[in-house]
């Protein structure tokens, strides 16, 4: 019989999606009923919260492996993954215990309520009995962030194949957080009416890669400024309100502004839109939202500083009826009507639909989108139904070009996961009165080949090592792109970038030709000029 560890290995050892799907299907065919439900939960990233403190875990592992804690920490810096580090340092066990998923999960739940001594003894008991991949996977359950090499989409595909069901149905049934202890395959995958809290799968747009003229007549398209907030679905059913983010987090508690809507709007309604802080008739910067979301308790002050609205662009359910198959123009008419009928104007806004004479006019708006508090345009065909997942053809996002700056690499740190043991996390600096001041970190954007070359360069050009971080000779220049720039009191440089990433290695530029802090400050004022 294929156990979860064999499944993990099979997924881990192939890069082909068909191989991964087949492995999951085979597992589902062979595993016990209760293991299946737990395996699906884990593969979907739905698992109990971290049951122990990782600092405790490190201390116990060092003691159990007879090495000093500093050596374990150094090893962790290199490996980049605590669970894997522990697997390698923990002494080999000579007993091999079967990896029984449900029992392990029960023990993990037990850990959450246990005192520290009991936690330690439960964990050390497992460490004495597990080896290799089983030990690694067990540690992964303890350290959080367990990502098996499959996307949600692949798991859904495999489950659908196994149950001989349609993928969108399975996706709908697997949305949100469900408790594997309370579900069976029957309850989870039965069409049920009482799952009234569930959102519909989001319809996502691909970026527009060709010229907009290829889309045909501009009058066939509904064109909206693309706002930079949190995409969400707002649901009112059975006198309850639910707000889901696109990441499928239930965020109702964070968005208290919408609570009153249950008293205003009728049941059986689902709206799709952008949740965004809003004041004086226009949206506030995303950084305002981030500060608000980061707080555990929403104070009166944060409610005043960052009052949220939803800018609505779609209605998916009306009077309890799923209307996703309606053409967009008809859904939009319904949306306009309901926003006018009910007194919701202070928290629900209608997403603006722009009328352009030509694609050229649209392109002009897009280029200057930041001046209109937008990050580009959304192009939606007026006849489009509300589809499932990311689909090409009828919805496109057409974002404005990112801003760019040339920065000098000054610090490097080794990455995690696939990039562990390789210096891939970089800090960049710009010039300020003859000094280099760090202003951002960036991780992605280079090819593996470039990463290896730069990694070698870093090892040869290290000035100093501070734990996992190295300072390097300030020689290499990189072009960095980002979506937003703002003043920030939280960053040393006084500047915060949104979505910074590396565009390319400017081998043609010496460090002296990198940008200056002055350039960045000018960029900030040019972007925000028209906003204020």
């Amino acid at each position: 019989m294929m156990d979860f560890i064999m499944l993990f290995d099979a997924i881990d050892q192939t890069t082909k999606t068909s191989g991964k799907v087949n492995a999951i299907v085979q597992y589902l065919e062979e595993a016990t009923e209760e293991d299946k439900i737990f395996a699906i939960a884990i593969l979907m990233g739905n698992k109990p919260k971290r049951p122990v403190k990782t600092t405790d875990l490190r201390a116990w592992a060092a003691e159990f492996s007879s090495i000093p804690l500093w050596l374990l920490e150094e090893s962790y810096f290199i490996v980049g993954d605590l669970a894997e580090t522990l697997m390698h340092v923990i002494p080999k066990s000579n007993q091999e215990t079967a990896f029984h998923l449900v029992t392990i999960f029960q023990d993990i739940m037990r850990l959450q309520g246990a005192d520290i001594g009991e936690q330690r003894s439960i964990i050390i008991d497992y460490w004495t009995r597990l080896n290799g991949t089983a030990l690694f996977v067990f540690n992964k359950f303890l350290t959080g962030n367990f990502r098996v090499g499959v996307s949600r989409k692949l798991v859904i595909k495999a489950v659908a194949k196994y149950l001989n069901a349609e993928e969108p149905v399975i996706e709908h049934q697997l949305m949100g957080k469900w408790n594997p202890f309370e579900e069976t395959l029957q309850t989870l995958f039965k069409v049920q009416t009482d799952k009234h809290f569930l959102p519909y799968p989001f319809y996502l747009a691909y970026p527009l890669e060709s010229e907009p003229e290829t889309l045909g007549n501009i009058s066939d398209w509904i064109i909206e400024p693309k706002l930079d907030g949190i995409r969400g679905q707002l649901i009112i059913r059975q006198d309850e309100l639910f707000v889901w983010s696109r990441g499928e987090d239930l965020m109702t508690d964070k968005f208290v502004e919408f609570n009153e809507l249950t008293a205003i709007l009728p049941n059986g309604i689902v709206l799709d839109g952008e949740v965004i802080p809003w004041k004086e008739e226009h949206p506030l910067d995303f950084s305002v939202m981030q500060t608000r979301i980061g707080r555990k308790n929403i104070s009166k002050k944060s409610l005043q500083d960052a009052p949220l609205v939803m800018v609505c662009y779609d209605v998916l359910e009306w009077e309890g009826e799923d209307i996703r198959s309606w053409p967009l123009w008809k859904r939009r008419e319904k949306l306009i009507e309901l926003l006018q009928t009910y007194p919701v104007d202070h928290v629900l806004k209608l997403s603006v639909s722009k009328t352009f004479e030509s694609w050229a006019d649209a392109a002009t708006f897009r280029r200057e989108a930041r001046h209109y508090h937008a990050e580009g345009l959304m192009l939606k065909h007026k006849d489009s139904p509300y589809e499932v997942g990311r689909k090409r053809g009828r919805w496109w996002k057409w974002k404005t070009d990112p801003m760019t700056v040339d920065g000098v690499l000054i610090y490097a740190q080794s990455g995690h996961g696939r990039r562990a043991n390789l210096f891939t996390d970089y800090t960049f600096a710009v010039w300020d009165e003859g000094q280099l001041v760090p202003f951002t970190k960036a991780y992605s954007g280079l090819t593996d080949k470039e990463l290896i070359t730069i990694d070698n360069w870093i090892k040869r050009n290290t000035i100093e090592k501070f734990g996992p971080v190295r300072s390097v000779q300030p020689e290499l220049v990189f072009e960095l792109a980002f979506e937003g720039i703002n003043r920030s009191s939280r960053h040393k440089s006084g500047i915060a970038l949104r979505f910074p990433r590396i565009v390319r290695w400017r081998k043609d530029k010496p460090a002296s030709e990198a940008n200056t802090k002055e350039d960045l400050l000018q960029l900030i004022s040019s972007v925000h000029e028209s906003n204020s």
Partner: protein, 332 residues
């Protein structure tokens, strides 16, 4: 005054006025083994184990002045007694032992204690001053036995062959390639070689080694290569040369394959943690068994290993900053 120290050119013996594995051109260079970070171009005179001689001529040119020595053979330069001893790293690899005025120094070069079934096994030496590499000087590096890995490789090759795939094994052309070839099970299928591997095999043949496998040349009929094992250096991955061997599954043999991140970054189907270096346990064992009072740690995780040796064993331990770059995944 220390008998050995590091200067801009390399590891230097001031009494004998010679270098070991220098990285800049010097007059006299003692060479531990034939990997490119230890055996560099431009020395007026090379001294190495005689099995390294053909490698040196292959890689650096026939015209070089090279003196081959036997393991254990003692000779003198300006009063410093010198001998080469098996390091167990690759064919011809040596630890270099220096004795002067009753003090014994050993530089390991690259080495390993565990047997690989091909290179002459490591010889345990006693010394006062021990200079050790630390490529895998972290407790997360504890390798399975090479012989278990050879068996796993053969099983994998067999499975691939049954499913109609070629098996491509990537490993350093000098060392890993010969280890794999010496243990590949010919009953599973044919064995083919990348030119770089075949060149090294031909050079080693001059000193009596024979390895199986047929060189792939531009004339080789690729349609004949079916369910075969193909041994190639890591640089062959992602090349048109390799693509012509489709369909294949590809595996990488390197100590770095011990970590998932490295395995996945390589984008190979399988990673085998086959190393020609000491792992954590072997490094510890080596340090203790030399009886050295003073340990110098070079290339690898020198900070960590040096601190560990000092704290755990109460030995004097310091770092020698060298330019040997086994940090690169290719060679380890």
């Amino acid at each position: 005054m220390k008998l050995l120290s590091v200067n801009d050119n390399g590891l230097y013996c001031n009494v004998g006025d010679f270098y070991i594995d220098p990285w800049k051109p010097v007059k006299t260079a003692l060479i531990t083994h034939g990997h490119s970070d230890h055996m560099r171009w431009g020395m007026a005179h090379y001294i190495c184990h005689h099995h390294t001689v053909p490698i040196l001529k292959l890689r650096l040119g026939e015209e070089n002045s090279v003196q081959g020595v036997e393991y254990g053979e003692e000779f003198e330069i300006k009063g410093v007694k010198i001998s080469f001893h098996p390091a167990g790293h690759i064919i011809g690899s040596a630890q270099i032992k220096l004795s002067y005025q009753g003090e014994v120094w050993v530089f390991t070069g690259d080495y390993k204690l565990a047997s690989d079934g091909v290179s002459q096994p490591y010889e345990q030496l006693r010394c006062d001053h021990f200079i050790t590499e630390s490529t895998f000087g972290l407790p997360v590096y504890q390798f399975p036995s090479a012989h278990d890995i050879y068996a796993a490789i053969n099983r994998w090759w067999k499975k691939n062959a049954e499913e109609g795939y070629n098996t491509v094994l990537l490993g350093y052309a000098l060392g890993k390639a010969q280890n794999m070839l010496a243990h590949a099970d010919r009953t599973i299928g044919d064995i083919y070689l990348h030119g770089a591997v075949a060149n090294v095999n031909a050079a080693l043949n001059e000193v009596g080694y024979q390895f199986q496998g047929e060189r792939i040349t531009s004339d080789t009929d690729r349609s004949r290569i079916k369910e075969a094992l193909i041994v190639a250096p890591p640089s062959a991955s992602d090349t048109p040369w390799l693509r012509k061997l489709k369909p294949y599954r590809i595996g990488m043999c390197s100590g770095w394959m011990q970590l998932r991140g490295a395995r996945r970054r390589r984008g190979v189907d399988m990673g085998f943690p086959l190393s020609d270096h000491c792992d954590w346990k072997q490094l510890n064992q080596a340090v203790l068994q030399t009886g050295a009072k003073k340990v110098y740690v070079t290339h690898g995780y020198e900070n960590v290993f040096s601190r560990w040796v000092a704290e755990e064993y109460n030995l004097q331990s310091s770092i020698f900053k060298t330019l040997y770059n086994d940090e690169e995944e290719e060679s380890a």
